[in-house]
């Protein structure tokens, strides 16, 4: 017995009555605004996250890897491999952000019903964000694929555009953004003209276009109402995140529904304080993930300048008070000093004499010369910039601090460096002295000032280590100034034997290389 059943093409007529959702939604003002808002989302894959910190803090001259860290990122060994998730998280987050910006830019002309003013500002935001994403990608990875248009069909190839081309595109995008963006945002956190100018200053400095860098830094300093706060500590007041020194920040919130992962910086710079007698974990002291450990070089620099420079005492922590009844020392009460961690030497007799009252870690207990002693878990702690006592509990890792991407003092330092590179030391020194005077302890302003011939690249790098500590600048600064290999070899004993030229760029993530079909053209960075 045989059965036949069949249907031929002529009998079935098909008509597609649905338009893809993207086309329907994104050409309305509401949809277009949705799209623009979603372009901001991917900033949170880097700023305020472990990925961003790991890639900019470790492997430099002023930090070492605490025991909770991925040590490979500091000592440039085989663990810095293309397969490591951190590279992928930043790469994939940022390219999705870029794709969203490209969609905004591609579809801008199709939007109906939106006012020209609003539309232009939104377009400017997309150009700014695209430049933001690319400037980090190119800084870490060198030649990266330059995608500039919305993609609607399956594309499995990619081409690495040379660095110069990427930087050229970044500048072009920012100049457009500058012309479209307002001075003051309609919603706090949106891109603004000064933000675009600040990024231009930074990018021009990186590409050695010093005159333009100076011009743009000056624009940000002079054309708006930004001003340096008098008290360096006040910048980090968590209740005062919208202050006159902040040019533009990535947003995080107290409302956990909007926070999406939160700002986690409060975890990374803390030492393991709760293992000492008399102290236990406490939201005021934070949850310690023991990641970043100041190097001997850095501690010596901080100690040497603290008599005149207020920044160490304002943002670093040396003292913890007893809060744990159950582990008090014999002569210790709640509220007394329980732990002292300092970057100078205290005579052993003094340490022993105090042993019943509080624990002391002086520099000799933390460091033996330049080499960290023991478990790499006790150190003076960079505290005030990131601490977040407003979280719902100490366990909660999602912090609410906005991440300041551009602060006014960076603009002064950019101007100082750009002018120095042009040989204009007298002009340059003015800018750096403004930052240093603000940082000075009361009465020591003139001690903090420097003379023009002291303005060198090394001095500027040291100043940036003091001013911009823990703000994701160090690795980029060293790379940009060509000092990465030199300073790491001088001051980072763990990286010294291994750091090489190839480490000036990061490995392209495995997932990227595996998935493209033009593998002979798209090569991995050499050495990885």
């Amino acid at each position: 017995m045989l059965l036949f059943g069949a249907c031929t093409e002529d009998l079935l007529q098909e008509e597609n009555i649905r338009t893809p959702v993207a086309d329907q939604h994104f050409n309305t003002p509401e949809g277009f605004n949705d799209l623009v808002r979603s372009s901001y989302n991917f900033l949170r894959s880097y700023y305020g996250k472990e990925e961003g910190h790991m890639l900019t803090t470790l492997g430099t001259d002023i930090w070492g890897a605490g025991y909770g860290s991925v040590q490979s990122f500091n000592n440039y060994d085989g663990g810095m491999a293309p397969s490591h998730g951190f590279y992928w998280n930043v790469w994939s987050g940022f390219y999705q952000g870029i794709a969203t910006c490209n969609t905004v830019i591609s579809r801008f002309s199709e939007v109906e019903g939106m006012s020209e003013d609003e539309g232009n500002v939104r377009l400017g935001e997309a150009y700014f964000l695209r430049a933001m994403y690319y400037h980090i990608l190119v800084m870490h990875w060198g030649d990266v694929p330059l995608e500039l248009e919305e993609i609607t069909t399956v594309k499995t190839t990619a081409t690495r555009a040379p660095e110069e081309e990427v930087y050229g595109q970044i500048v072009e995008d920012l100049l457009l953004a500058e012309s479209l963006l307002p001075d003051v945002p309609s919603d706090y956190g949106r891109a603004t003209k000064p933000a675009a100018q600040a990024l231009l200053a930074r990018v021009y400095l990186t590409t050695n276009q010093n005159i333009k860098a100076t011009d743009y830094a000056k624009k940000v300093i002079e054309d708006y109402n930004f001003s340096l706060l008098d008290d360096y500590a006040e910048i980090w007041n968590i209740e005062n995140q919208i202050n006159s020194e902040v040019i533009w920040a990535v947003q995080y919130t107290r409302d956990e529904r909007l926070n999406e992962g939160g700002n986690r910086s409060h975890l990374y710079f803390l030492m393991e304080y709760d293992f000492e007698p008399g102290i236990t974990l406490d939201i005021a002291y934070g949850r310690s993930w023991v990641r970043y450990f100041p190097s001997r070089f850095y501690l010596d620099m901080l100690q040497e300048t603290r008599w005149k420079d207020s920044r160490y005492e304002k943002i670093w922590k040396e003292v913890w008070f007893a809060n744990h009844e159950g582990s008090l020392l014999s002569d210790q009460n709640l509220g007394d000093t329980a732990l002292l961690v300092v970057p100078y030497d205290i005579p052993q007799e003094v340490i022993d004499a105090k042993a019943d009252k509080y624990t002391i870690f002086d520099i000799d207990r933390i460091y033996d010369g330049e080499n960290p002693i023991g478990k790499k878990s006790r150190w003076p702690t960079l505290f005030e910039k990131h601490t977040d006592p407003l979280r719902s509990s100490n366990i909660n890792i999602e912090g609410s601090r906005d991440w300041f991407v551009f602060r006014l003092s960076e603009m002064y330092l950019i101007a100082a460096e750009a002018l120095m590179k042009e040989g204009k030391l007298v002009d340059g020194v003015d800018y750096i002295n403004t930052v240093r005077r603000r940082a000075a302890k009361l009465g020591h302003e003139s001690d903090m000032e420097i003379s023009p011939n002291e303005l060198t690249i090394d001095f500027i790098l040291d100043e940036r280590a003091l001013e911009l500590a823990g703000e994701m600048f160090r690795w980029p600064d060293l790379k940009r100034t060509g000092k990465l290999l030199e300073r790491v070899r001088l001051y980072n004993p763990e990286a010294r034997p291994r750091i090489k030229e190839m480490h000036l760029v990061r490995p392209i993530p495995t997932n990227m290389i595996d998935r493209i079909t033009n593998k002979d053209e798209f090569l991995q960075n050499p050495g990885y």
């Binding site: 993207a22 979603s38 994939s92 999705q96 870029i98 409302d255 909007l258 999406e260 291994r498 990227m512």
Partner: protein, 383 residues
């Protein structure tokens, strides 16, 4: 056996031959799945919500039906007046335009797309034998055996016969393979110089430098195996003697490679671990690397967790006693039987999974739970 050219004989009481061919389509696609979708994103302006929407699914207007074509040939026969029944079957199934999620380079902004990714083939053979081995003097023993093997392979992908490493799809291999570094041992103290050339130290995992390039990188990954078994078999033996019955079932899965997450422990003393054989200077093993409190996981750590997953398992064993008719009548029941049975009583596998009593039978990563033995004591009564 009704045909003229063959008649029942002493030993062959029935013979049937069957052949089939068919083509089916796959309609397991969710509505609107191919139209392209948006996803919501979260952001904020200071403390106010700033939700957005962006494209998250790539629409594929070229997507077409997946079709499967099967050739099947089978033979059933009976021997010795029905004492032995055999049925066997061989098949060859080709699937065209297989619909799967294909991973894309993220520079497009999309992570994956639903596509017709290529053609696969499944060839296999099934055998079933039921035989009554002994049947006399109130003693009966019969055996049921089933045997099954299947070979899946990717015939072609979207680019022709080219491997796709990004999705781990390789021509001639099953859809799921393990593609990773091959562990050859642990660097020992006397190999310190050679280890240094590979940027390693004694105590760390040693993997095969496949292309002999002098460094260990992604080009050294290779296909280590697949979860597809060489064969699967199940043998059930049943014995009855007067009112007693005894039955046991043995299950065999042979030739599959598995990944056991517990054999790739995260470092750091805050995690609980199995008591693995790990390297120390006094214990120069090649099994597991030196524990290191400073790192979260070993380099190429996953390479230490692949095992031969073949196992033989005593699935079930039961003993029962049917109460005699006289007793039944007195209790006014038709039948009653008391039994004791055990499930998953014992298994054998080559790797150290059995030492830790890990459950060997998983469809994904293996050994995530302990193997559980069950005992049941019961009474069946029918009225």
């Amino acid at each position: 056996m009704d045909e003229n050219f063959i008649k029942p004989s002493e030993w062959l009481s029935n013979l049937k031959l069957r052949v089939s061919y068919g083509v089916t389509g796959n309609q397991g696609i969710a509505p609107y799945q191919t139209q392209g979708g948006l996803t919501r994103t979260t952001y904020a302006w200071d403390e106010s919500p700033a939700f957005g929407f962006r494209s998250s699914t790539l629409a594929n207007s070229d997507l077409k039906w997946e079709s499967t074509e099967t050739y099947n040939i089978g033979m059933d026969f009976e021997l010795y007046e029905g004492r032995v029944n055999v049925n066997m079957e061989a098949y060859n199934t080709n699937t065209y335009d297989l619909i799967m999620l294909r991973l894309l380079p993220i520079t497009t902004g999309f992570n994956q797309v639903l596509e017709n990714v290529g053609n696969t083939r499944n060839k296999g053979f099934e055998l079933g034998v039921n035989s009554v081995n002994i049947d006399q003097n109130n003693f009966r023993w019969n055996t049921d055996l089933s045997f099954f093997l299947n070979r899946e392979e990717i015939v072609e992908l979207f680019n022709g016969k080219q491997d796709d490493i990004g999705n781990q799809w390789f021509i001639g291999q099953p859809i799921q393979v393990y593609y990773d570094f091959k562990k050859t041992g642990i660097w020992q103290l006397n190999e310190e110089a050679e280890a240094a050339e590979y940027a390693r130290e004694p105590g760390q995992i040693k993997v095969l430098d496949l292309d002999e390039s002098g460094t260990v990188n992604d080009a050294d990954r290779m296909i280590l195996g697949s979860r597809q078994p060489d064969f699967v078999a199940n043998i059930a033996n049943n014995f009855t003697f007067e009112n007693w019955d005894l039955a046991f079932t043995t299950y065999v899965r042979w030739g599959n490679t598995i990944y056991v997450p517990h054999f790739n422990p995260a470092s750091g003393k805050r995690y609980n671990h199995l008591a693995l054989d790990y390297w120390t200077p006094n214990n120069p093993t090649n099994a597991h690397p030196r524990p290191d409190d400073d790192v979260q996981g070993s380099l190429q750590g996953s390479s230490q967790a692949y095992r031969d997953g073949s196992f033989i398992r005593l699935r079930q064993l039961s003993i029962g006693y049917s109460l005699p008719t006289t007793l039944n009548e007195r209790m006014s029941v038709t039948n009653s039987r008391i039994y004791l049975s055990g499930e998953n009583l014992w298994y054998w596998t080559k790797s150290e999974m059995s030492k830790f009593n890990m459950e060997p039978e998983w469809s994904g990563n293996a050994g995530l739970m302990p193997a559980i033995r069950t005992f049941v004591l019961g009474i069946n009564v029918s009225f």
